[in-house]
Structures are given as C-alpha cells and as structure tokens.
Symmetry: C2
Subunit: 292 residues, 2 copies
C-alpha cells in the first residue's frame, strides 16, 4: 500500500470482531477486501464476522500476509499482546490500534511498528447509524486511511500527530475520564447523602439549583451499574494516565474503587439507585460483613 | 425561649457577619432584636453588620447573655473554636452552627450544646433576592426557628434529625462534593487532553456528544480559579467525610490537589482556561521548576 493513499485494492484485516470491532468492519466498505481469522475465536465472534461481511482467512499468519492494513480492537488488557503476535508474523503493513489504552501502552505498540503504526480511539457506541460514533486516528498516514470508511455510519477523523504523545488514545482516555469518572462521583455523592438521611433533601435541592442531576443519578445507576465490572479496569488505566501526565490520580482511583464495589451488578437489568446505594453501604470497609 | 416556638421577643445573635453571615442576619426580620459583638472584629465586618441592621453589644459575653439564639457562620476551620468560646460563657440558648463543616466537626459542636444545638448548612450565594439561597436546619427545634426568617429572601428548610448524623452539614458537603468535585475533575480532564495536544479534538467531540461541557470548562476556569485557594480545604473536609462514611476519598483528594495547584489565582480576575491549564502543566510534580 502507498503510504499516503488508500486505493480500492486495499485489503483490511480485523482483530478481533467483538461488537465494536464488527461495526468498524461492517463500515469499512471502501476496502477491496475485508478479512478476519477464525482460529481460536468463539462461535459468537464468527457469527458477528459473517454478519459484518468479513472473509475468513483462517490463521493470524494468513491474515497478516494478505492485509495491507490491520485494525486491532480488543479488550485493553490484550492490546499489546495482540500487537506482539502481529509483529511476530513479519507483518509489513499499517497497524491501527483502536483500543482504549493508556498513552504508555499505545507507545509500546508503536515501538513494534514504527511509522506504520496508527494511534486510534473510538468514541460512541458500535456504529450502526450515522452521527453516533467517531474513529479518531493519529499518525503520519491517518488522513489517507479515512476513505476506507467513506460514506459509512462511522465518522473517521484524523488528528495531528504530536512529537511525544498518542492523541487518539489520550482523547479516548480524557473523554471517558469525564463521562465515567463524573458518573462514579455522582453515585458516591448520592451515597454520602443517603447514609446521613439527607438524600431526599439533596434531590430536592438539586431540583432547585442543579436541574437534571436527580434524573442523571437514576440513569447512571441503571446504565453504569451493570457495566461497573469493566469500568473498574478502565478507571485504573485513566488514573495511571493522569499520574503519568503529572495530574492528580485520585479522581479515578476513587472511581475505580466505586465501580469495583458495584461489580456484582454484572448482567443485572437496570438496577435502581436505591439498589446501588444499598450495595455501596454494605460494601463499605467499615460495614458489617465487609466484602472487601 | 420556648423550645418549640419563636416569638416576636426572640433575640438573635450573629457570629461573625462575613458576606454570607451578614445576609443571614439581614434576613432574620422575624426576630425582635438582632445583635452582634464588635470586639476584635475588623472595620469591614463592622460595616457589614451596620448595613445588615445589627445592634452592636460589644463583647461576646454580652452577646451570649442577651441572645436566645446564636447563629455561627465563619470559616469552617474556626467553627469548633467559636462554639467552644460561646459554650464557655455559659450560654443557655439555642446554638445554630451554619458552617460548611464535616459531620465529625458538627458532632463535636453538638456535644457542647446537647439538645440546644441545631445543625445548619447554607446552599447558594449570600441571600439578596428570593429563590437563590437555602438555610437547612436539622434538630428537634429546627422547625420552630424558621419563622425568624419568614418572608425574607432566605428560604429556611427544616430537615428531620437522624439518630447519628448531621443531615444539614452532610447535605452541604454532598452538594459541594458534586459541584466543586466535578468542576475540579473537568479541569483535570481538560489538562490531560491539552498535554497530549488533543484538547481541540476533545472540545469538538464534546460539541457533538456532550453539549455544554466546552462552555462549562471555560466558565469553571473563570469562576473557580480565583476561589481555588479556599476550595482546597473544603475538598479535604469532604474527602475526610467520604472516608468516614466508608466511601472512596480519592475523588476529593484529587480535587484538593488540583485546587492547591491553582491557589495562585486568588484575586485574579476571571482566568482563561488556557491560563489554568498552563499553570497545571507547570505545577506538575515532574515539570521543570516544580513548585510542589
């Protein structure tokens, strides 16, 4: 592949099509071929890959041999391992790491691919309709890759590369640092008032002077409770990112602890705020029957 | 004074009329007499007291001898000392502590006055027009005191007392835990993006998916920068309150550190976000010329 342009002959490979990855793959209709490798993957992943229109080439080696561009989208903790496996095949194309990783992790991946590395970050839900989801790409070749997704539901945006940073990964971290960090703070504040018997008063005061916070508290309980188990690790990555940037890590250490205590709501359908607050009270380090 | 009612003969004393205290005093038009004690206070305080319509009785002893009700509104760090001074005079009336103190501090003050203690908390700016400011009062006699401020710009609300808590103080803490804690988090997130060269991208993404955060960031920089020096201590009180409630203290330890770094903006007229972010970058523990 030319360094600066993507032509209709570009072949793109995806590692590994989870819900988000499959949506990025389904949207890459500017590529001549869209591939994945089924070796070692689950039937659910295979179903998603077929639905996204991906061609199975079997092994990782074959995927790397045939692809001009590889997109990695996997759990953050697996990102560098996946990159290492790809590099070990001798892959010579462009490697897009679209994972929610800290800039430190991004730089480890970059070291494996040099100027063929693209720092990526996705903001929004899996891209099923236009306007919901952005794929940010940074690096010398980022602008040339956008046509792979032209005309699809995915909005691809190129960021200027900086001398010493991973702007797409940092953007993703900063975005989640606010959304998931402030949601955790809001639950902690509700819990504090609740434990002093002042929650009704707080909610009434919010109605007067902070409109929307009452409703947001209920919405966060229902929406974030079931995902807390996976937010915990993301908060730890953000805390480390803050510390590496010389900023306070406390906000996200607090959020990490709060989500940790809510991990039991995994697969729970939309808990109420009262259920979340009861669990926070029970899981307090000083509570009877302390669970940790 | 009767324990349950306030009559037109009630005399109320104020310690010490700063901006907020003077506004509470000016609104207490349901009292027969409104007093203060000028001994040891500054000319600025005296001017505020006169403007609020307070009668100077000279000494603290005289104030305590003549008052049926005393309202304490002072810096949080002075709250328990002021209470100790009042108790030492043998004051036998009702003591309202309206300071932004932790429940632990509130309980120390309560121990000095027993069932003559009222836990209070003010939310909003100094009360100059109706609808902006609430004085929350909790304790057996709270409801009976509201008529002191009837018909004024100050909205007095009684909270149910709880067996082991200071609901008005906790309400004030919880309220500020969100407003000032989330503002600090927002500045930290802006700083993180800025240091990676991703701030413009973050602000553009916020325009798409988190409307209002861009404007809020600018507003917080201008509004909270000059007050950061006094928010630092309040964040420490809130962190301790969270910890005492068995909740994560990290959020407000982070906020405490962030405001600490911005203390130099005291008396600075409305700093820009760029000025705030430059100071956060310079004051990073790893920055050249580290200031702490």
């Amino acid at each position: 592949m030319s360094k600066a342009t993507v032509t209709a002959v570009t072949t793109i490979g995806f590692l590994h099509p989870g819900k988000m990855g499959a949506s990025l793959a389904a949207c890459a209709t500017g590529a001549a071929e869209r591939l994945w490798a089924s070796a070692g993957r689950s039937p659910a992943t295979a179903t998603r890959a077929v639905t996204a229109g991906l061609v199975d080439v079997g092994s990782l080696d074959e995927l790397c041999r045939r692809s001009d561009v590889i997109v990695s989208i996997c759990p953050p903790s697996a990102a560098d391992g996946v990159a290492a496996e790809v590099a070990a095949t001798g892959f010579g194309g462009v490697y897009i790491d679209a994972n929610a990783v800290s800039p430190a992790t991004a730089q480890r991946v970059e070291a494996r691919f040099g100027d063929r590395y693209i720092d990526g970050g996705v903001i929004g839900p899996p891209a099923e309709r236009p306007g919901t989801t952005r794929l940010y790409l940074a690096g010398p070749q980022a602008a040339g890759l956008a046509p792979l997704w032209a005309g699809s539901a995915l909005d691809v945006r190129a960021l200027s590369a900086t001398a010493d940073g991973a702007p797409a990964s940092t953007l993703k971290m900063a975005y989640a640092a606010w959304t998931k960090g402030s949601n955790a703070l809001l639950l902690a504040v509700n819990a504090l008032a609740s434990q002093a018997g002042a929650l009704d008063a707080l909610r009434a005061e919010w109605e007067l002077s902070q409109p929307g916070l009452r409703e947001r508290s209920d919405r966060v309980a229902a929406g974030s409770g079931p995902k807390a188990w996976r937010f915990e690790g993301e908060m730890a990555e953000i805390a480390a990112t803050m510390a590496a940037a010389g900023l306070p890590e406390g906000f996200h250490r607090g959020a990490e602890e709060l989500y940790h205590r809510l991990a039991g709501f995994k697969d729970h359908p939309a808990p109420t705020l009262a259920e979340i607050l009861a669990t926070l009270a029970e899981s307090s380090p000083g509570a009877p029957g302390d669970a940790g």
